[in-house]
Symmetry: D2
Amino acid sequence: MTNSRALDFRSDNVAGVPPEVLSAIAAAVQGSDSAYGADETTGRLEARLAELFAHDVAVFPVATGTAANALALAHVVPGWGAILCHREAHIATDECGAPEFFASGAKLIALDGEHGKLSADTVADELARELRGVHHVQPKAVSISQSTETGAVYLPEEIVEIAAACKPKGLTLHMDGARLANALAALGCSPAEITWKAGVDILSFGLTKNGAMAAEAVVFFDPAQGQDFGFRRKRGGHLFSKMRFVSAQFEAQLKDGLWLRLAGHANAMATRIAAGIRALPGIGLLYPVEANELFVLLPESAIAKLEQGGYRFYRWENDRGPCIRLVTAFDTTAEAADGLVRSFAEAV
Amino acid sequence: MTNSRALDFRSDNVAGVPPEVLSAIAAAVQGSDSAYGADETTGRLEARLAELFAHDVAVFPVATGTAANALALAHVVPGWGAILCHREAHIATDECGAPEFFASGAKLIALDGEHGKLSADTVADELARELRGVHHVQPKAVSISQSTETGAVYLPEEIVEIAAACKPKGLTLHMDGARLANALAALGCSPAEITWKAGVDILSFGLTKNGAMAAEAVVFFDPAQGQDFGFRRKRGGHLFSKMRFVSAQFEAQLKDGLWLRLAGHANAMATRIAAGIRALPGIGLLYPVEANELFVLLPESAIAKLEQGGYRFYRWENDRGPCIRLVTAFDTTAEAADGLVRSFAEAV
Amino acid sequence: MTNSRALDFRSDNVAGVPPEVLSAIAAAVQGSDSAYGADETTGRLEARLAELFAHDVAVFPVATGTAANALALAHVVPGWGAILCHREAHIATDECGAPEFFASGAKLIALDGEHGKLSADTVADELARELRGVHHVQPKAVSISQSTETGAVYLPEEIVEIAAACKPKGLTLHMDGARLANALAALGCSPAEITWKAGVDILSFGLTKNGAMAAEAVVFFDPAQGQDFGFRRKRGGHLFSKMRFVSAQFEAQLKDGLWLRLAGHANAMATRIAAGIRALPGIGLLYPVEANELFVLLPESAIAKLEQGGYRFYRWENDRGPCIRLVTAFDTTAEAADGLVRSFAEAV
Amino acid sequence: MTNSRALDFRSDNVAGVPPEVLSAIAAAVQGSDSAYGADETTGRLEARLAELFAHDVAVFPVATGTAANALALAHVVPGWGAILCHREAHIATDECGAPEFFASGAKLIALDGEHGKLSADTVADELARELRGVHHVQPKAVSISQSTETGAVYLPEEIVEIAAACKPKGLTLHMDGARLANALAALGCSPAEITWKAGVDILSFGLTKNGAMAAEAVVFFDPAQGQDFGFRRKRGGHLFSKMRFVSAQFEAQLKDGLWLRLAGHANAMATRIAAGIRALPGIGLLYPVEANELFVLLPESAIAKLEQGGYRFYRWENDRGPCIRLVTAFDTTAEAADGLVRSFAEAV
């Protein structure tokens, strides 16, 4: 452990990998098996996800969230298309233009919304704007993040409403599920309820932030929509010859609900910290804490003290004052959470 | 082990991962560490490779050979550029057009050559062709595979000659080193001698076929040429958040010469099989066996018997008759090799 | 004349071509001359523009403004780059994503500003924003429109300030000069003063809206920056085999200041209409009238009456009420202008 | 006339524009008309071409052959697709990779064939090659040139056979008709017979080489296949604001069969020269003369004498000896043709 785990709240992707996942990888990469996704582990994955989502699916494992998002969107958005997303969406701010690159220069239309969420009204308003024919890119997809970049969770009915706003116009609804498990753990609903039942067509199903080493998958709820996606993945360099190491991570996480326990724990740690903070004077929360992220408003002097104490986190730009983002993970301990709250108390 | 390892000669990427590599991965993904390549393991990698190659390098780990090749070539070849390569090169035949995709539609010019090797004369002849100004794509890079797709190995002086043919015209020399270790084990020379000392500018350094799980790296011998490559990798979706799992594989393989031992063993098994085959009537070798691949000419009836015996391999198109390709790996046992030879003897 | 010219205020590109331009085209396409821009007319163009701008230039004629803008920006902005422009810029709203397409998915960052103009402060603020390394596209160019989409004109000193904000950070300053002549006619300054002397690096020099048939040119004030641009133009399909028909239009327009007379007349007609409108109650101007465009606020009932009268124009979305855009051209007559004002008077 | 027309045989695109075409342009660009192809002239074009081809069509005028070819192919070939074409095809050798650029890096597969023509057998053989799934680009289109780069003409039945080889596999058949008129004039058949009736799906209909100034069109014989093509054209920068100048050239050329008379004349001049040459000792024809191009084998000393006489032409690489290409055009006079033959006689 190169940094003190108890002090590192920069992101859930600074965490490592739980033993169940490591064991599964180790087991999967023994002996001969077919390359490029024709292996047995990968062969089981599609059925496993169909069962999980209670729906037919076409599944394409990849190993980064950026790949999953960019490849998925490129598959349904032509170069002259536009993708509606939240201004803070990962695809808009953190992928160095990967969606635009893969989608031949398609455009992202960044929309505002509370807590990182798009509202159906905002989507509908944007879609009601007059388009100037061939002079104007054409909206072809809406992408929402579940949970959001600011730690909120879409309710199933909110997704249903967004779908209702965009589906009649022929748009595809994509969900960036880099923190899908955190959302599910928070909502307590089934994977189906916040995906295809709510109108989601394509899911970037991410596990890396939830304790996988590198495991994401593009999931098409209409398998026909995934036709030829294998070519797109291959020429993007995202078809692994020993694909089984990716698929094994999915298998391990989904076994006996491990993924939801890991995410539930991360959420619980965030809730625990939030509870502690709410009791402290001079500290506030910028956003509701619904998943595993906290955005804490506090004096600069307190930030400095935390840093001196060895804590690691990122600043968060906003217009209400100094703010830091804290992210809990599957391996954040209750002691670490309580220690953080104590440090907050001492810092203010 | 899902298939009988002893019977599977389809490729070196159907093999698994040796314990040293798995242990290193497991160790690397413990506890907190910075994401996106800012971790400690990755932090050590550049210095390690600089030492290995006895030269300054800029190193960018990725996880597939296709990504390494396509990103590397795209970084030095504009859309109006052309890449000279062998007709059988992996970039030309097996990457579904990934180099063209990443390089804005640059063109691959496929050249002939014995045993998968380009000759300096062939390169020079192509470069001597009249170009019709802006109407014609401009050669900007030569890409060679070491070892080649047909199991041959470039001698250092052959690379020197190719470099001499293309460098004065401003071309970049790229090496697809998906089987670099096999070449080095065969040649017994230093990594420097067949790379920068011979004129190679950029190396796709692959370990996946040599027992890594997913570990490749783009190595720039002129670090300045690698400027901004990080952006290209990121927007290609090839920057891993837990990059340490890739870098750890490099570290484990390079430690105490493991990679050369693994490759040397694979080569030895190929040599052993070749020796056995040469003694058999009715069987021939299409190409010299210099690394870990064999191309065996034999009657259809013999191929059928091998298949009935459970052996797995691919057919190889050529104009000299029925032919199969066999690839040995780090974990091909002497027993398996001898068993294969016996099966050949029985089959013919 | 298929529509009544006197009633058509939709745009300056609904106008035709003055006889001087037609004659020049007709003369240029007589007899043999070299294809693909090696003709004599095109051969004279670079020297002619160097003289016009009093500066060395590299000049690449094309035939649409979208081609000029997209090719120019793609030449200086990598895929991971960003282009700062006004929210209403033609490149952002009216080119169906051409800049993103040609620039491998580079991103346009749309900024606000009065009257379609960027301010140096806005540019500086955007450039002061924290970039998250490889996760974030990197600003590489600023593009300004002269005159702007809403009929305003940048003063030379305003451009100087923008250049001062972006040049120290290594950005290229591009000017979309689709209505450059209108700006020059309004300012009465030299072409040099609002281009390279003010810090502009690359100009999309448009004449089509000023009475050319199809004549635009990408002008590099640092000829070295234009290196290899010919390849980019060719593979974009924008190298004309009988290029002389484009170059002849430049020659005809620049001869004896025709282009400035044409633009000056268009501006004068806009001013004349504006003067007439200002005297009318119930009608307002949304923006200052500095070039050849008017944005007129008036009651819906008045808009309907104008339409019944056969007038043609476009609506303009804004938050101050019903508004129409009127564009005058080189061939708008004083009678047409006065007739329009009378119709306004009758309509309100 | 900047060069002596009678001595210039470099290409048909060094010729100018006949008066009928110039008059039509001049008439079309008078007065107001809608921009971006919504004008009346363009409005008539689709019906005119439907009549010409006796078939429903979707028509998209552009102004270069490279644009027509690249946009058309990109519309039916995904990035992972391949386009089969002749080794000498304009798209393969003279467009600086434009098809690859527009088609996201799709691959051109260059095939051999006599006189610039593909044979159905060659196409069938290529399509019979084993594809390695996602590792291999997938053939999606065949492109043929009518007339070919070496002056030959496909008979309707030859096209029918190619269509029969590729249509059952789902490929689109594209015709590069940069010299369609020359082929038609040579064959004496209807436009329908060598296009849709023979199985052609998309035609790049070129008139520029036949005396237009800049007039090409992408013609879809299945209008549904042209859906969204307008977006592709726009973001390629190929939608002209005064499109009527392009459409007027089509109208003028198609009126009363002018285009076939122009092409017929060019062909006749080539035939006349060929007849004269055949009578000369020491001179040979590399290819049959079926349209308006001649490839003449003659001693270097003779080439030098022609050059000294002021003749202009291009060299043609081949393995039978020194060779020059001569191209006749609509305005090549009989005197010029006879003068050339005399000069040949004197030179050898």
